[in-house]
Symmetry: C2
Subunit: 223 residues, 2 copies
DNA sequence: TATCATATTTTGACATATCAAAATTTCTGG
DNA sequence: CCAGAAATTTTGATATGTCAAAATATGATA
């Protein structure tokens, strides 16, 4: 029975641990930043999570999930992502608006209901953004994807995952038919201009900056 | 932006106001009982709701919703009941288990999502228990129904509403095919034994006590 | 009307979650 | 290695929501 606050912290720590390649440890600064709280608040929460054996906390070091903390984090993430699927697939919400909704619902759903949702959706393995859905058993498998910036010029790809949940960005992706599942072709890799040009469906090609392109993960299509 | 606690109190006050025929005012004792808190807690909450102009509070008198409080209460009730519909109709949960689930979800759903749910369900006017769903405009219309105890012996009725949300009771109702919408016949009104005998579908007749029968509301079928 | 049971309010305490600002530690560049 | 910058922790405060137990008010009854 962790509170929603605790669930949010644990989920965030999990995601930050994955994101930061600086080892496995999340600093108070990063945690506070990611949670939108002051550093002092992050510190006191870190202690309290450590008291509950959900994280290992080293003063002046940082915080890292324990096995138990990871289990809780993955359960929250599973709920979050399955809810996103439900909202998009059953209720027709736009994928650019489901994130905030799921942020609240992920704390309000029983295991039983979650199972029904999973079944109803046909046991999906990724959410509408292409993010992998942890299993009920607490495993998460992230397939090896390539960023759009790393693809050879001329290659055919299938969009697999969009790493930025920002509404603006998701709508941009939508406009140019670059949702997960779509097939596209990389027309130009302009390293000097730090730009990538992509073309999807019958739409005109679009050129985007490397930072934007780096947030679009793809699979190469054989042949 | 009322907290879920505030939403729960307001909804409960609304329901208690309707239930108690002792005027329109809810005593601290009743409020505390209904909310499962101590009397002191109810008092302090009553004051704080009064500060926010959500209830009128008279010390040693009791509490009564203001127009604003009623609006909030009805919005919560609308969310609760539409969610119950969704869980039963789209996700196939049993009507005996949706209440607790809705109790949490009712605080976690945006207006936008609620509209989608309403649309998805085809704008239902009652929930799975036959409870009326307040409109988006904040109105609630309760049709004049008759308790099973008040019906003439031999009458044909349509079950319209079940007033008790208790799992045991709902399952009893289910077993004997007395869900809202079902047609049934009142075979015996035994006033001496304080019992009512009803028969539905092809099932054998069932005899229940008056207190149970009083919780089943029906419409008389013409002819 | 005086008394007593019952309802209500008040008081003091606690848990959680947060902030601002002060104090402290760690890191880094010269 | 040492001074200043940056990160972190500590301190003192606030808001919400709760309880137990003490104090007080209300209302029925004898
Ligand atoms: Mn959340
Ligand atoms: Mn997602
Ligand atoms: Mn509730
Ligand atoms: Mn209901």
């Amino acid at each position: 029975m962790p509170s929603s606050t605790v669930e949010n912290y644990l989920k965030r720590i999990f995601l930050e641990q994955q994101a930061e390649p600086t080892g496995d440890i999340v600093s108070m600064k990063n945690l506070a930043g990611a949670m939108g709280v002051t550093a002092g608040t992050a510190t006191s929460m870190a202690k309290s999570l450590a008291d509950s054996k959900l994280v290992a906390y080293e003063p002046y070091g940082g915080v890292k999930l324990t096995a138990r903390g990871r289990t809780v984090a993955l359960r929250v993430l599973r709920r979050h992502r399955l809810i996103e699927c439900l909202l998009v697939e059953a209720l027709g919400l736009d994928w650019s608006e489901v994130h905030d909704e799921a942020e609240k619902l992920e704390h309000a759903i029983s295991d039983k209901l979650l199972d029904r949702i999973d079944e109803f959706l046909g046991f999906p393995s990724v959410d509408p953004h292409g993010d992998p859905i942890p299993t009920a058993g607490g495993e998460i498998r992230h397939s090896a994807l390539t960023a759009l910036t790393e693809v050879e010029q001329g290659a055919e790809v299938r969009i697999a995952r969009v790493l930025d949940q920002d509404e603006q960005f998701l709508r941009f992706v939508d406009r140019h038919m670059l949702r997960p599942g779509t097939r596209a072709r990389v027309l130009v890799q302009d390293h000097a201009a730090e730009a990538v040009t992509v073309q999807s469906g019958k739409l005109p090609a679009v050129t985007m900056g490397r930072t934007a392109a780096a947030k679009i993960m793809v699979e190469l299509i054989k042949g």
